[in-house]
């Protein structure tokens, strides 16, 4: 028989069950409320830490942030073939923080032993600046040493990356390229001229790291990308530049000349393919070179052009109808007294010379007679229209415009001086540019250090006409005979038809006035080939040793010939047929 539970027991149990469930519910609710309050508290704390951290905590969080500077590289300078002339890379500087050195007694030995430095030198550098926290041991260390420093982790020793400007071409075109300062900004040459295009913009990377300095994450505004500077391609050709610099060095050594300049230009576009100075200058190793060694004398220095100036006056006189081809000019057997009483002499006693031979034989008297016929006004116009007396458009720093006195200051002497290349002073670049005008058929061009893109040339280009194409052609043909028959025979080549003009100018005596004795400037300016000139070369050699030679035809002409022949061969220009070669090619 089952025992029935008494009703009171059942009632008690149901009462107990009902009471127990209610308790659980209440406890559960209290627990839920407490849990919610706790979560809300945590949420509030997270929010306050994120947006309003305690002042004591901020320095601690900052110490866990790192910032890396990302360098914006200065743009490269390239030659016309893409060769790098100037570039920027990252170098490392080795420095010491004396306050962090743990064992000062052995520190120098450790550095010396591990990194191959003289310990005494390291010790001395630290002792000299031990009150500072930055002692430079080596301005530029190799990558291998950087790796060693990181590997050994010597307390107090560290490397610092910084940007350094390299000039891989060495001294080639050093004067033209210039150099940068410590802040990376251009100070001279094209580095200065192109300072608005070359510089880069640095960036930064800010990130949080853990206690072991491992990067954790980047803040959303923590990355600022760097921008590299724009690379600029120049008109220079380093191969032709090397021809020019080598030839200048050889010429100056041979004739014991202290300085010389050479310019190679394209007469059609005005592009400067080479601009060389002697003595050379290496921007990578400039040290404390004085300013006069760094100067680009092709544009900063002037000289009296001497007989080379006759080419321009001859062209202007022919174009203006002041003299005709075949006209006989009386050169008075080498001694001529002008209408104003000035006495002029020629190197040789010429009698009657054809107008062409006045230039071929470089007769001062013949040119003076035509100069008198032209008069000062026309001479002044001729000088100015060839661009003398004003700076060119090269944009090279320090360029001067040369010396051409105002017409009002010209005298009767000027009529005979100017045609001989006296009373004016020109820069080598002006001389080369003037010759380009003759070479390209008589139109003005602007020298440029930047390459000319043929696609950018307008379909109907507009040029300033200086002399007529006929006058330019006639001048070129006569200048060709200067090289084959006249004073420029040492520039004659059997490979290319070179046309040019020699000059031997006296140097002004700035102390006593007049001209210095036994001091000359040897000049030669030429172009080739005569039928379709591709290059113009101007060479100026200052104060060669008179005993070894000083005439332009002796000193400067061979140098120009060597460079123009090498350059045309390098450019793939066909050499001319030799007259000795037989004969007939026809179909």
């Amino acid at each position: 028989m089952s025992r029935r539970k008494p009703a009171t027991l059942l009632l008690n149990r149901s009462i107990v069950a009902a009471t127990g469930s209610r308790r659980v519910i209440v406890v559960g609710q209290i627990f839920a409320v407490l849990l919610t309050l706790a979560m809300l508290g945590v949420l509030w704390r997270v929010g306050s830490l994120q947006y309003r951290p305690n002042e004591q905590i901020v320095p601690l969080t900052n110490s866990q942030r790192s910032q890396t500077a990302l360098h914006g590289r200065r743009g490269n300078l390239l030659d016309r073939t893409g060769r790098i002339i100037a570039t920027t890379r990252v170098a490392h500087r080795l420095f010491v923080d004396p306050l962090l050195i743990q064992d000062p007694n052995t520190f120098s030995e450790q550095v010396g032993y591990r990194l191959n430095y003289d310990p005494a030198s390291v010790e001395r550098k630290i002792a000299d600046r031990q009150h500072t926290r930055y002692v430079v041991i080596d301005q530029q260390i190799s990558d291998e040493r950087v790796d060693l420093v990181r590997m050994f982790k010597l307390a107090g020793l560290a490397t610092e990356p910084y940007l350094v400007r390299d000039y891989p071409q060495g001294q080639l075109a050093g004067h033209v390229i210039g150099f940068v300062g410590r802040d990376g900004g251009g100070l001279e040459g094209l580095e200065l001229t192109l300072n608005d295009q070359l510089p880069g913009t640095g960036g930064s990377l800010r990130y949080w790291r853990d206690a072991k300095r491992r990067p954790l994450w980047v803040h959303q505004t923590g990355y600022k990308p760097p921008t590299d500077g724009r690379a600029v391609r120049l008109s220079l050709d380093m191969t032709i530049q090397s021809f020019a610099e080598q030839q200048l060095a050889d010429t100056c050594e041979k004739f014991a000349a202290p300085s010389a300049q050479m310019i190679v230009m394209d007469p059609d576009t005005g592009e400067i393919l080479a601009m060389a100075n002697y003595p050379p200058f290496n921007p990578a190793r400039r040290g404390n070179d004085p300013a006069h060694l760094r100067r680009n004398r092709c544009v900063t220095d002037t000289f009296e052009p001497g007989s080379t100036f006759k080419a321009f006056i001859w062209a202007a006189a022919t174009d203006g109808g002041f003299a005709q081809l075949g006209e006989k000019i009386d050169c008075h057997k080498g001694l001529y007294v002008t209408t104003k009483g000035r006495r002029l002499r020629d190197a040789h006693a010429f009698d009657l010379l054809d107008w062409e031979y006045v230039l071929i034989k470089s007769s001062n008297i013949g040119m003076a007679i035509i100069g008198q016929r032209m008069g000062n006004a026309q001479l002044y116009r001729a000088v100015k229209m060839f661009g003398f007396g004003a700076i060119t458009a090269s944009r090279l720093p320090g360029e001067v415009g040369g010396i051409v006195h105002k017409l009002s200051k010209w005298t009767h002497y000027s009529e005979s001086s100017i045609p001989m290349g006296q009373e004016v002073a020109v820069t080598p670049l002006q001389l080369a540019r003037g010759f380009c005008i003759i070479a390209n058929g008589g139109r003005m061009i602007s020298p440029t250090m930047l390459p000319v893109d043929p696609n950018e040339l307008r379909e109907t280009p507009i040029y300033e006409r200086i002399i007529s194409p006929d006058a330019a052609y006639q001048t070129k043909q006569v200048l060709r005979r200067v090289v084959t028959e006249g004073t420029g025979r040492k520039a004659n080549s059997d490979q290319f038809a070179i046309f040019g003009k020699t000059g031997t100018a006296q140097i002004a005596d700035r102390v006593n006035g007049g001209y210095a004795e036994d001091k000359y400037t040897s000049v030669f300016v030429c172009g080739a080939p005569v039928d379709d000139p591709q290059l113009v070369v101007a060479v100026v050699v200052h104060e060669p040793d008179k005993k070894k030679g000083y005439y332009g035809g002796t000193v400067a002409a061979p140098a120009a010939k060597n460079v123009i022949v090498q350059s045309l061969t390098y450019l793939g220009v066909a050499p001319m047929l030799n007259d000795d070669q037989p004969v007939l090619v026809c179909r």
Binding site: S21, V24, I25, G28, T68, L70, H71, R73, N76, R83, I84, T87, T88, R89, V90, D143, P161, D166, P168, Q169, G170, L172, L205, Y207, R214, P215, L216, W217, V218, Y223, M238, T239, Q241, S242, T569, Y570, L571, G572, V573, A574, P575, L577, D579, D580, Q581, P582, V583, L584, V585, C586, R587
Partner: protein, 93 residues
């Protein structure tokens, strides 16, 4: 009742775990991004270094010296312009 609370707690726990996992992935992605940025920067600098070294060893003076040592001769890269087809030249007498 107990069951519902337990389910709620379990559900909340799962959500919390998922959030933590996502956060961890984000941190790892950021870490990788920083590492990549630093590697990109390092590679840029290495390229600059190599450009400088290549330019150093290929400048005309260095090349000419190297060619001189080997005895090789240079020829123009571009061919000269061809001569005219119809041409008559008579030697001077």
């Amino acid at each position: 009742m107990y069951g519902k609370v337990l389910v709620l707690i379990a559900f909340t726990t799962v959500i919390a775990m998922l959030l933590l996992a996502m956060r961890q992935q984000r941190v790892e992605a950021m870490h990788e991004m920083v590492s990549l940025h630093r590697q990109i920067n390092s590679n840029r600098q290495m390229i600059w270094e190599w450009q400088s070294r290549i330019a150093d060893t290929t400048n005309p003076v260095t090349l000419r010296q190297a060619l001189k040592r080997t005895g090789l001769e240079l020829e123009p890269a571009s061919k000269p312009k061809p001569f005219p087809v119809m041409m008559v030249r008579v030697p001077h007498e």
